[in-house]
Every structure is written in C-alpha cells, then in structure tokens.
Amino acid sequence: MSVADTYERLFHAALRIRLVEERIIALYPSDKIQSPVHLSIGQEAVAVGACDALAARDLVFGTYRGHAFYLAKGGNMRAMFAELYGKATGCGGGKAGSMHLAAPEVGFMGASAVVASTIPHAVGSALAARHRKLDQVALAVFGDGATEQGVYHESLNFAALHRLPVVLLCENNGLAVHSPREARQAFGIAEHARGYGINVAVCEDGYDFMAVRAVLADAVSKVRTGEGPVLVECKTERYMEHVGVGEDYAAGYRSAEVAAEWKRRDPLCCEADLVARWTAEIAAEIDDAVAFAEASPWPSSDALLADVA
C-alpha cells in the first residue's frame, strides 16, 4: 500500500474519532449521555497511529479517556454509543459508560478510571502471551500523569526484568486535570524509562498520525522480535476540558496560544478537503450508531446483580 493510501486511511480513522466526539459534544446537553466523558479531541492521531501499527491479535489496555483507542482498535461504533446511552446493547451492557469501554473481540481490553491501573494489566497480559506462545504484543496506553504512580515503576521494572512483549505508550498532553507537568514531575518520562534498560522512542509530533505510526511500528517490531519492552512518549494536546464537553482555556491554567499553534499543524484542522470528502459518510455512520443507541432497550433489572462474581 502506498504512503498516500496509508495517509488517507489514518486520516479517515482520525476524522471518524473526532466527528464521533463532536457528536458527543452536540448530544451532551440533552442529558442522554449520563456519565462523565473525557474527550480525546486533539489526541486522535496517537490512537490512530498506534493501533495501525498493531496486528489485529495484539491487545490494547486503555484509560477513561478511551473513545479514540476503542474506535482505532476497531471497536464497534454502535455498541459504543449504546454504551454511552446506558443501553443494554452497549459494549458493556450499560454498566460501563464512557470510562470503561471494551471490545475484547478486537483486542481492546478495557479501560479503567483509576489512573495507571491498566498498565500492569498490559504487562501481565504480555507475560501470558509469552507463556502461551501467542506471538502477541500488548500495548498499555496512559497519560503523563500516570507515570507518577507507584505502579508505573513496578510495571516498568517487571516488564524490563522479564523482557516482556509490551509497548508502553504515554500520551503526554502535559496535563493531569489542570496541573502542568512541572508541578508534578521531577523526571523526564523518556529518560526515566531508560533507567530500567527500556528502549525508548519519543514522538514530538503527536498530531501527525504518520509520525506516530512510524515510531510505533518500529517499537512494535522490536517488541515482537523479543527485544523487550519499548516505551513511546507521544507529545500531544487535549483541546477540550479534562472532563466534560466544554473548552476551558479561559480558566487560565494553560495557554490558548499553545493550543492554537498545535491546531495549526493538526491535519484534522488544516486539511479541509479531506475533511469535506469524508464528513458526510462518517456522519451517516454516526447517525446510524446514535439511532441504534436511541432505539436500544434499557438494561433489564436482572442485569443489576448479574456478572458480579
């Protein structure tokens, strides 16, 4: 496949995520989505580039900011909207909501709302993959804030010690809720990971899915051939507020200029022609998914006590 084809495929995937989240913004005031949403708008390229570098059998372990990775890994859009609506047909039967999307059938292994808590899952899953000789890579995605948690250190150490087939992908948007990294971290994420003997790659242009894809493809191939874990740090930018569907540049905790600069380079913001080419088609898909969610039944009372233990 040509570079141009790849570019278009990834652009389409990224645009699809953005339009889904823009639809969520539009729907949110109706209170039909009754759970907190953490939008990835601005960060789509990371999910799209990363998942494109994975094989279908590889596994992704996500976070509450999970729409982008769910879709990029191939999660069903109808099941996602139904989940946001709290419907029985949702990917979690309505029990999950936006923060706990999962699609095990395509290797999206769930998302946790406790920061950093799925990182060891990816490591453990890689341990199982090796044990079961699955030729499978696990990818943990997490934010910059997650690297402050003790379990991050524990996970890196174990993964490196046993040279497990896991990619540690940090979406570094420079913020944990409203706190800048300087208020939280004494270490550089990449340098720190090197301290474990972990291979490291940094992608400064996290808006550029092609760049992300290239870095990840290299990382995944190293991991797959048994070189041990790789940590990839992608610089990125979240355009919306931490949780919810608004913008909050006015709150003063970060700079609108930096965001504007980022947007000037973000293909989804610049390439009007490609956006125009696919918007209608994607909008129709979204319409269908939303209609599916609307038409779907609520979970039955039985569900309340089902699947507990």
Binding site: P36, M99, A303, L304, L305, V308
Partner: protein
C-alpha cells in the same frame, strides 16, 4: 465551646455543605500556621469542588500544595509531615483512590501511635469524597467507610450536614491527635442547611450520634446522605400515616454512639439501618452487632437494612437507580416495619428523582 459559640451566631443562617467545608478549611489555616493542605488540584480553579477555592492564593503554595498522582506516597508524606509538627489535610476527590493508600492509612497512620507505645502522634485529616452522582460507575462512586472503621486507630466520620462539619472539623483539627478519615458525600455539597439547627451531639466531643428527629414508632440509624433520605421518609410518613419515626445521624462511623442507639432501639423495638455502602461487613452489620451484643430481645421485628445493591456500581442510570436505596424504598420499608402488611397501603413519595431533589433540597436541620 468556641465552636458552639460561633454556631450560635450563625443560628438559622443557610449554608451549603461546601461552604461549611470551605469555612472549616479556611479557619483551620488561619488558626494554625502548621496546617497544610495536600491534594491533587487543591490549588486549581475548581478547588476540590469549591472546598479549597482561593486558599492557595490566600495562604500560599507552600501551604496548599498540588501533588503528583501518588496516593500511597502522598499519604506517607503526610504521615511524615505530621510526625514532624505539621497538621496535614489530605484530599482525595474520590474515596476510591484512597484504596491506593490503604497501606499507609492502615499499616502506618493507624498504628504509629500504638506500635511505638505512644511515643508518636499522627494528627492528620484525610478528606475523601464519595463520588456518587449519575454515571460515575464502579470506580468513582464507592463509599468505603466500613473498611476504615474496621481498623483500630482510625477515627472515621461521615458528616451528614453542614453542622456536622462545622462542629467536628475544627474540633478534630485542634484536639484530636490521631488520623481522621472523613467521607464527604458529593451529592451533599450543594445542599443548603440551616446552621445550628441540628441537635448537637451528646457527650464530651462533637463526634457522637445526633438524634435529628424524635419519634417512637421505629428507629432509623443513618449515615451521610441517607440521613436526609430518612428525614424525608419520616416526614412523609408522619404526614401520610401519622407515624413518628426517630432518626439518628450516626456521624462517627468508627466509634458509633451505642448509648444513643440502644436507648432508641429499646424504646421503639424496631430498627432500620440506612447506609450509603454495601450491607455486608458494613454499617448495617455493625449496628446489628451493637444491638445483638446488648439487647437483641428488645427487637420486636427483624431489622431492616438498606444499602447499595451487592454489586459494583453500574453506570446506566436505570440500573444506578436500582443500585442505590432511594426515598421510596426507604419509606416503603419503614411503613412495613411499623405497620406490617398494612404498611403497603401507605401512599409513597412521588417520582421526582432523588438527585433533583437534592439539588433544591433545603435541609430541615
């Protein structure tokens, strides 16, 4: 004393739970330069749901410190600070995250004084917010008071009103020399309370239970937001069935006020426990133990218990509405407890969603 005084000044004034929190934070910082607040985002424009807003500006970043995401480490850091003369107030915007700090809370903070034969003290307050509201799901809505209350060495509170905060927080920060865990309920933050209207706790400290409504037909022991529900249910039953229910706000979960509970249960013979958490190994169980060890023969009917359904919290609103015990169920259970089968005929409160009511709720105490 000073506190009671102050409350009298405010008697009748309306104040939200959030305002009460903010005021107690502000007053503690003003009174003692060694009081510091440590928590994620305590200095941001949201200010821990408003409860720490503006404090960083007023008292400086050295006293109102944003922290890394590191619950275990920051709790240990707070313990170390307490050992060396500070009074740390730590915040968790969800109780759930405090599970990461269980080791420091249970193995260290709770035991430090005893383990060394009384040679150390760890005075500190850990504020944990119960995140319940729509769609918070399994990991952002738990109400884990029982896990903490099981552990000797911890004082565990579940303040149910602005008064409970204004009475207990200043007292604890000034007088209690050990670690305190306080579970604040997110849904109470916006509720207006009339200050000074609540019956004060009996006993020497403001930690005791509060009889917030008198009645002889049955005793309700409730915690946190369930106190509000119990009061609404009691009012409803008084109006529609002429039944007078006694409602006790437990307030301190780790050191339940057995005297107040037993006095009431022995009088009414009927007990309902309404807690915000799971019933098994929870407040519902502990209150039953209190009665069973003392005078189970005083009970004329089985105890009714209300808590979350025995499951993680589902996200979908329709399931969530069944997951949490609501006003209607509480009213129904109480009516049946008092009237038996005839209780089923008592008209129940209408459909208005609980959360809606809370937002407009003006507390009767």
């Amino acid at each position: 004393m000073g506190v009671a005084h102050k409350l009298n000044d405010d008697l009748g004034a309306v104040c939200t739970y959030r305002d009460a929190l903010h005021r107690s934070m502000h007053d503690a910082m003003t009174r003692d330069p060694n009081v510091v607040i440590l928590g994620q985002g305590v200095d941001d424009h949201k200010g821990t749901f408003g409860s720490t807003l503006g404090l960083a500006e007023e008292f400086g970043a050295g006293r109102v410190m944003d922290t890394p995401l590191a619950e275990e480490g920051m709790t240990g850091i707070a313990v170390g600070a307490a050992l060396n003369g500070l009074y740390p107030i730590q915040t968790h915007i969800r109780v759930d995250f405090a599970l990461l700090a269980m080791n420091q809370i249970v193995n260290l903070a709770a035991k430090y004084r005893y383990m060394f034969g009384g040679r150390f003290e760890v005075p500190m307050l850990v504020r944990m917010i119960i995140g319940r509201s729509w769609g918070q799901g399994a990991q952002h809505s738990q109400s884990l008071q029982s896990m903490f209350a099981h552990v000797p060495g911890l004082l565990v509170l579940a303040p149910a009103s602005a008064d409970a905060i204004l009475q207990t927080y200043p007292w604890i920060i000034e007088h209690h020399r050990g670690p305190v865990i306080s579970l604040e309920h997110r849904l109470l933050y916006d509720v207006n309370f009339r200050v000074g209207a609540e019956a004060a706790a009996t006993g020497d400290t403001p930690l005791g239970a509060r009889v917030v409504r008198r009645g002889g037909a049955a005793t309700v022991v409730a915690t946190s937001i369930m106190v509000l529900e119990a009061l609404r249910a009691a009012d409803h039953l008084a109006q529609h069935a002429g039944i007078e229910i006694e409602v006790i706000d437990l307030n301190c979960v780790s050191h339940p006020d057995t005297r107040v509970i037993m006095e009431s249960v022995e009088r009414t013979g009927r007990l309902l426990v309404a807690d915000t958490s799971w019933k098994a190994y929870g407040v519902c169980a502990e209150i039953c133990r209190i009665v069973c060890e003392r005078m189970p023969m005083a009970l004329t009917a089985p105890v009714v218990t209300l808590g979350m359904a025995p499951a993680p919290c589902p996200t979908a609103k329709v399931l969530e509405d069944e997951f949490y015990p609501n006003l209607r169920r509480l009213t129904q259970e109480l009516a049946t407890l008092v009237l038996g089968r005839e209780g089923r005929d008592v008209p129940l409160p209408d459909d208005a969603s609980m959360a809606d009511v809370y937002k407009r709720f003006k507390g009767p105490f």
